[in-house]
């Protein structure tokens, strides 16, 4: 790399060629004030706050955009510069409303800080505040255009990083403001990236709005528990209330970016609907009992069942909400305390992580197979976009309808699911442009859903054809990967070692050989393939459910124990890259964690299991070869395989009907946690049936109408949403709702008939 030498305030520095003066100053440890600059965005040079002087050059230059040249001598704090900076600030403040006491940005406002830094006390110009109405119509973003300093950070991040281009500068000159084209409603991904970069109180987080002030909040570093992306976050809390799930700019695997769920969906942690007391079903009704009583009941029942039917009549079901430590403890509890191999997870072990975000970002050819990645895994989606935009990588998208990746995709293969599979067949056969690109690429990456056997087949075929290819299994839940690694899976011990297989959960429930099920956090009733098993539960003599809320599944159990969310416990999660990251306790809502429940239950059954995170981690290191040398604070696990197994190429949709139905991901929901957030529910509360405008017209359906979907003997009713981007002849529904789970139990892709109802 070519380097240049220059002097900043007399300090010699050497920086790579193409660095800006600002970067050089950073290296020299010299502070230059900035307002419009953000290291994650392209240089812009709009605010002039960063002006510096180069010795021998009468013109001042902006440090954030000017490249460092050899032998430059830069001065950053001369009297002349101080004066000019002051004037720049004065000009910025002419039409700034200065309502800092009311403004939600007070305490973390760059404009405030700069005013203080420049020592500005008196503005020489007459104030001329605008008086535009504050826009409160958006559920997540409050927009007070008067406070805007036109730094363009929001516009740039929405374009350069999120690539949605929802907002832009509108009008010219003094009329310039930030808005949407033709003043349409602000309707976008709601990722809130624009809020996070706005240096002033122009774009505010509505969920946090006026709730507190930054100096009151304490912050804990943690990991978002809402999807498998594993974003590094700051949990801002005061007392035992979480006020914000905040980004840590530029930090973590997610570079400080978050999605709508992570940024706005935290409210469920503080929810008043959360349970605090244990329940036991007596004569059909739930009765409130204390923790001890609940555990006594469970341990007595377990003892009785064990002596009557043997320990294989007991099963432990682990949800991906549990931390690695908890999952490890849960399988230990099943295998060593109860003495059964019946430990279950609904996650498949057929595919394991191979590529990291970095691999995706630096890839020169990305293929996404049948997955709407920006919706299902938004931060992985950002990496895909970055690859396609920043390195001009070829991006080949296979998906039934048009997705947000359309703007950056080299090729988009849409059509009915059968047509998409046909296109994927061609890709595998190596005949298409995408196949050429994969062949020629140095670091090709394929993103697919590990939940769909048909897609697994294609991913495996591609892997065989292009060995340099890296596969990304886009798992859905926060610790989908970790619970498997910890051995909370039938037939797999810690470290994914194959062990003796227990009773198959579905069969065991159906033939009633499983008499007791301990369900740790899993909401089985809304999981595809499991929702209709309700009848099978009724014979269970013990169905214990732990969940922070009275979930659909908890209502069907006979013992319920409320437990902590990820904000209330220590431990670690493993994300879709196989990255292990630490979760930290921020608040205490007066309920125990799943590990407390397991430990207390073990003690009652006569065996001590520790609930201490460090001790469990010690055990993991000993018993789990995959985690032997892994750093729990951001380390990557090395997996033995990327895909394993034989897969059928079952591409023909099941059922009869004139429409194809396929599951689509919902950015604002990822399972059952997010649905307890009223803020997210404002935009997407219930499952909606997406239908093409032409099809809707033909069937006389309008947005909001109730539509009955019939797949074989299952009929369910949903509200319709008409969407032009939907492929003709197809409809989609999100997964993880009780009703949609019933439908998708019939198959991943279905032929259904729809009818306007009511």
């Amino acid at each position: 790399m070519q380097m240049v030498n220059l002097k900043i305030n007399g300090i010699e520095v050497e920086v790579p060629k193409d660095s800006t003066i600002l970067q050089a100053a950073e290296k020299a440890g010299v502070h230059i004030p900035v307002l419009c600059h953000d290291a994650r965005l392209n240089p812009f040079g709009a605010c002039r706050v960063c002006l510096v002087e180069a010795v021998g050059n009468p013109r001042l230059m902006t440090a954030c955009t000017t490249p460092a040249a050899p032998d430059m001598e830069i001065l950053t704090n001369t009297e002349k510069l101080q004066k000019i900076r002051k004037t720049v600030m004065e000009l910025l403040l002419i039409n700034h409303p200065l309502e800092c006491p009311v403004c939600d940005k007070g305490g973390e406002c760059t404009l405030q800080d700069l005013t203080y830094e420049t020592g500005l006390t008196n503005v020489r110009f007459d104030a001329e505040p605008n008086n535009t109405e504050v826009d409160h119509t958006n559920p997540f973003i409050e927009r007070d255009i008067d406070r805007c300093v036109l730094c363009g950070r929001c516009v740039r991040i929405c374009d350069e990083v999120v690539n949605i281009q929802a907002i832009s500068f509108v009008n010219r000159g003094t009329e310039t403001m930030i808005g949407t084209a033709f003043d349409q409603p602000w309707n976008c991904e709601f990722c809130g990236q624009c809020i996070s970069v706005c240096p002033v109180g122009s774009l505010n987080n509505r969920v946090y709005l006026f709730k507190n002030r930054p100096w009151n909040l304490e912050s804990v570093d943690s990991v978002c528990g809402l999807c498998s992306c594993g974003c590094y976050i700051k949990l801002d809390h005061e007392g035992n209330e979480v006020f914000r799930m905040n980004e840590a700019p530029e930090e973590g695997a997610n570079h400080g970016y978050l999605c709508a769920k992570g940024r706005f969906g935290f409210e469920f942690i503080n929810s008043m609907e959360r349970e605090t007391e244990c329940r036991i079903r007596k004569n059909g009704d739930f009765e409130t009992v204390d923790f001890e009583q609940a555990l006594d009941t469970v341990s007595e029942k377990l003892g009785a069942i064990k002596s009557e039917y043997g320990s294989d009549a007991i099963g432990v079901l682990v949800s991906p909400r549990l931390t690695n430590e908890e999952a490890f403890l849960a399988q230990k509890f099943a295998r060593e305390v109860i003495g059964t191999t019946n430990v279950y997870s609904l996650e498949p072990t057929t595919s394991l992580p191979e590529a990291t975000y970095e691999d995706v970002e630096n890839s020169d050819c990305v293929v996404t197979l049948n997955i709407d990645v920006t919706e299902s895994n938004p931060i992985l989606g950002l990496a895909v976009r970055k690859a396609a935009r920043m390195n001009d990588a070829g991006l080949y998208v296979y998906y039934p309808s048009e997705t947000a990746l359309k703007r950056v995709a080299t090729e988009m293969h849409t059509g009915t699911p059968d047509a998409v599979y046909a296109a994927m067949d061609e890709l595998v056969a190596g005949k298409t442009k995408a196949a050429e690109a994969l062949k020629g690429a140095e670091n090709p990456v394929v993103v697919y859903s590990p939940y769909n056997t048909a897609d697994l087949y294609y991913a495996q075929e591609l892997k065989k054809a292009y060995p340099s290819l890296k596969l990304v299994a886009a798992r859905s839940k926060n610790n989908s990967q970790g619970v498997l690694d910890m051995g909370a899976k039938n037939g797999f011990g810690p470290g994914l070692k194959e062990t003796e297989r227990g009773v198959n959960l579905r069969k065991g429930l159906e033939n009633q050989s499983v008499k007791a099920l301990i369900c740790l956090g899993e909401n089985v009733a809304v999981r595809t393939g499991w929702s209709e098993i309700e009848r099978a539960y009724s014979h269970l003599e013990l169905f214990m459910v732990t969940d922070p809320f009275m979930s659909e599944t908890a209502k069907r159990g006979n013992v319920y124990i409320p437990v902590a969310t990820y904000a209330e416990k220590n431990g670690s999660f493993t994300n879709l890259e196989g990255r292990v990251q630490e979760v930290q306790k921020a608040v205490d809502k007066g309920v125990c964690t799943d590990s407390d429940v397991i430990a207390a239950l073990s003690a009652k059954l006569g065996k001590e299991l520790t609930a201490d995170v460090d001790e469990i981690r010690e055990m993991i290191r000993k018993e789990n070869p995959l985690y032997k040398d892994v750093d729990f604070n951001g380390g990557l696990v090395k997996y033995p395989y990327a895909i394993k197994g034989e897969f059928e190429k079952e591409t023909v949709a099941a059922g009869e009907g004139s429409f194809y139905l396929y599951p689509a991901a919902l950015r604002l929901h990822s399972g059952s946690y997010t649905r307890w957030s009223h803020d997210l529910a404002k935009v997407y509360g219930d499952a909606k049936l997406i239908i093409n405008d032409k099809d809707a017209e033909a069937a006389g359906i309008e947005s909001g109408n109730e539509v009955a979907v019939k797949a074989g003997d299952v009929i369910r009713v949903f509200a319709a949403e008409v969407d032009k981007n939907m492929t003709k002849g197809c409809v989609s529904l999100p997964e993880d709702y009780a009703d949609t789970a019933d439908l998708f139990t019939k198959g991943r892709v279905l032929k259904v008939s729809i009818e306007k109802s009511g």
């Binding site: 009311v102 409160h136 509505r206 709005l209 006026f210 709730k211 002030r213 100096w215 009151n216």
Partner: protein
């Protein structure tokens, strides 16, 4: 020598008695509190009041500045967002039993809402009554206004 003289004739005690006698015949300054109010000096800092606007709405905007500046941590504010996106004050509590009447809250308030009043009648028989809320503080404003009016002053 002088020492012996002083010791012998109790001159110091006589001097002291002299002072006592002098005050004995002066006009008395004892106030029969609580039947009688003591005068307060112009810069005296008493119980706070919070100003209201013409419509009787509190001027406080809930910015938390008084809370953060208060050295004895006796102010507790809880705010929220209203339907129309306005800053709402859900709770404003001031614990007079902890307050050291330093007046920092008055200094810090950017909107001229909280002020140190002239009232010093804090005595009460339970601690709970020392915690006053926004209602009391704005009522104090009315009281202070009346007191000021009686003296022909303006707040």
């Amino acid at each position: 020598m002088k020492n012996v003289f002083d010791t012998f004739f109790f001159t110091e005690i006589l001097q002291g008695l002299g002072v006592t006698m002098k005050h004995f015949f002066k006009k008395k300054v004892t106030y029969k509190y609580p039947y009688e109010d003591t005068p307060v000096f112009p810069r005296f800092r008493g119980i706070q009041y919070i100003k209201t606007d013409e419509e009787g709405v509190t001027k406080c905007v809930g910015c938390y500045l008084c809370q953060v500046v208060c050295p004895s941590e006796c102010i507790h504010i809880v705010t929220d967002c209203g339907h129309k996106g306005q800053r709402l004050i859900r709770k404003y509590e001031l614990d007079l039993s902890r307050c050291i009447y330093c007046g920092y809250c008055e200094e810090a308030c950017p909107v001229d809402a909280i002020h140190m009043g002239r009232d010093y009648h804090t005595v009460d028989n339970t601690r709970d009554n020392y915690v006053v809320n926004m209602k009391t503080l704005t009522q104090n404003y009315k009281k202070e206004q009346k007191m000021a009016e009686a003296k022909g002053e303006q707040l």
